[in-house]
Symmetry: C2
Subunit: 335 residues, 2 copies
DNA sequence: CATTTTTTCGCAACCGTTTTCGTAAATAAA
DNA sequence: TTTATTTACGAAAACGGTTGCGAAAAAATG
């Protein structure tokens, strides 16, 4: 209701609008005396500057966009936490956009990001995304983009990921070491580097162990709803695997449910390891061995490097590539 | 780099800036012919309007704020999903702010929201919040505020919650019916209505069953990190409860861990029921009986009513009070 | 053909803040 | 005292759209 802006302050203090503005920004051009008067009246009248007017003039929005496939996922919500913590400390605001794993959505979102609404973009691409143009367009507008976790390989910019290949290797080796002879790999996308790299690690481990390519089972659970059925039929097959690697968190519940349903005991009949940051992992039945990604740290690191790109446009993001290792936490599901 | 704005379009088409603007907004004042030309050039040059310039003039930001205690919680992330789905359909953008359960943070956030940055606010208050002024200030600036889940009772505005009292009653009755004689209630706040209401339901149920006030055990787990220890010492006490009601999701893991650690079997020695939207509930050890809140629907409903308040300022939010019931899903933990 | 109405567009103010530049007064240097 | 410099402020033009109003041209009406 009050609509108190700089003009109101100026009128009441018999000063010019520009003087008020400078006083509020603590300019050297203004005397300490008037600065104090301005500050006092400002707090008294509860003056709050209009960010959009400021953005318009300064061409800085003090806002970043976070684009992700979904938010109901522990990895992503922890990453948001990390991002938010950095953004807050920098005085930035965070817009959240969800692609719901659809390329078309992601494209629309990035298009909007070209408007000047945001100073930079943090993105974890959708599982459908396998082209780069829509991201390139953003970069052409001089809007820095940083990938976290799910990157698009063709784009030259900073990325913060975890050691996916190594973890794929570790996960598979862990299963082999625990006695699995035919572990399967459950993926959600043929294009996502995280899935591909984890899978390559899996393949490498199996190869080193002397298994042939045709003995490796890789199942793509692309359909979110059909996941349970896919896992179920995999476990009902004659040559069913004796180990499962869930490449992302959301595969865990279908896997456990299918095993319970089919009376397949974990870890006796099938061992399970999952890439997940589930905090319920230790209380599952049985407790789940996880490759736990440092989601919070990834978010923080990605935001930190993004702000470097935002704050000095000379900064070359394309050289930045940070890998924060995940941890294998052994629990009952692979005992 | 391109910096294509309305002026560029105007120059290239030998038209005035205002004509371009009106054409883009499909004004009746502009002929179909020129509209077409403008649209064509606009798409050709990849013109994207500056939202802040528009916001400044029209005094509409097409943006809402979502203020919540934390995002790494299934309830809240699902609620965000619901909110986002409505916002997206309305062409609105969503700013996320986290209070981390601190009143001071929440206050700062809401202060910023008075700037004109957002057209409305959806909030689930922090567990520390027990005053109303900071929210009132927002309303005085004519910025509609809607509560979801965690409301502040002194504020007159719309709220979307679940049937907390009934669920507290249901939860306690369920335990009683399953044979518990001394169920305890685990809360996180003395001021949050959700906790209070659920607790009142619990008390009512126990009273109806003939238990006296002094036989009711109510434990406040306010410290996030100390939760495990608190639960542990509760379970080590001589008069330890034979049933536990976790009033919020994040209490679940500490409870299960403490029980496992102390070798207290669920449900034989202690039955557990929790307010939670955990999708891992069915695969916990043992599967967890939950009061499952309709988080997504609450988010959707809250956003929907907020937009009513935003779109017509005549709309009286204070009368809106929607209660979306939760579901008791029985599983092994209370068998 | 004169007059009224409609169609189509441009001018200019405006949203609230920032910033360049000019200038009067105060102070310092000559 | 005169000149140079510093201090402290104001006027006005941005930033990129939006919108009320006026007006010329075209169409409709009498």
């Amino acid at each position: 209701m009050s609509k108190v802006n700089i003009k109101v302050l100026a009128d009441q203090l018999q000063l010019s609008v520009s003087t008020i503005s400078k006083a509020l920004r603590d300019s050297y051009e203004i005397s300490d005396e008037t600065k104090k008067k301005v500050l006092e009246l400002a707090t008294q009248l509860n003056y709050i500057p209009n960010p959009y007017a400021s953005s318009l003039r300064r061409k800085k929005s003090k806002t970043i966009a976070v684009v992700l496939p979904e938010v109901a996922d522990n990895f992503f919500s922890l990453a948001i936490n990390g991002i938010q913590s950095i953004a807050e400390s920098k005085g930035y605001h965070v817009l959240i956009y969800l692609s719901h794993e659809k390329f078309a959505n992601e494209k629309n979102i990035l298009e909007d990001c070209q408007s000047g609404r945001v100073d930079g973009v943090l993105i974890s691409i959708s599982s459908e995304t396998n082209t780069a143009e829509h991201i390139n367009k953003l970069q052409n507008q001089n809007i820095p983009v940083v990938f976290f976790d799910r990157e698009q390989e063709a784009i030259k910019t900073a990325r913060v990921t975890t050691n996916d290949f190594d973890c794929g290797l570790m996960a598979a080796n862990h299963l082999l070491q625990k006695g699995c002879r035919r572990p399967a790999f459950l993926s959600i996308s043929q294009s996502l580097p995280i899935c591909q790299n984890r899978m390559e690690g899996y393949k490498a481990a199996l190869q080193q162990a002397g298994l042939r390519e045709e003995d490796m089972q890789i199942v793509y659970c692309t359909d979110n709803d059909g996941m349970y059925d896919q896992v179920r039929s995999l476990l009902q097959a004659a040559d069913r695997p004796d180990g499962l690697i869930a490449s992302v968190e959301k595969i865990v519940t279908p896997v456990y449910l299918a095993c319970h349903e089919l009376n397949i005991r974990i870890p006796n009949e099938v061992k399970v390891i999952a890439f997940a940051t589930l905090d319920t992992a230790p209380i599952l039945n049985p407790p789940l061995t996880t490759i736990t990604q440092p989601a919070f740290e990834i978010g923080k690191a990605a935001a930190t490097v993004l702000f470097k790109g935002i704050e000095k446009s000379a900064f070359d993001l394309s050289k930045e590539r940070m890998v924060i290792p995940s941890l294998l936490i052994e629990r009952e599901s692979t005992k």
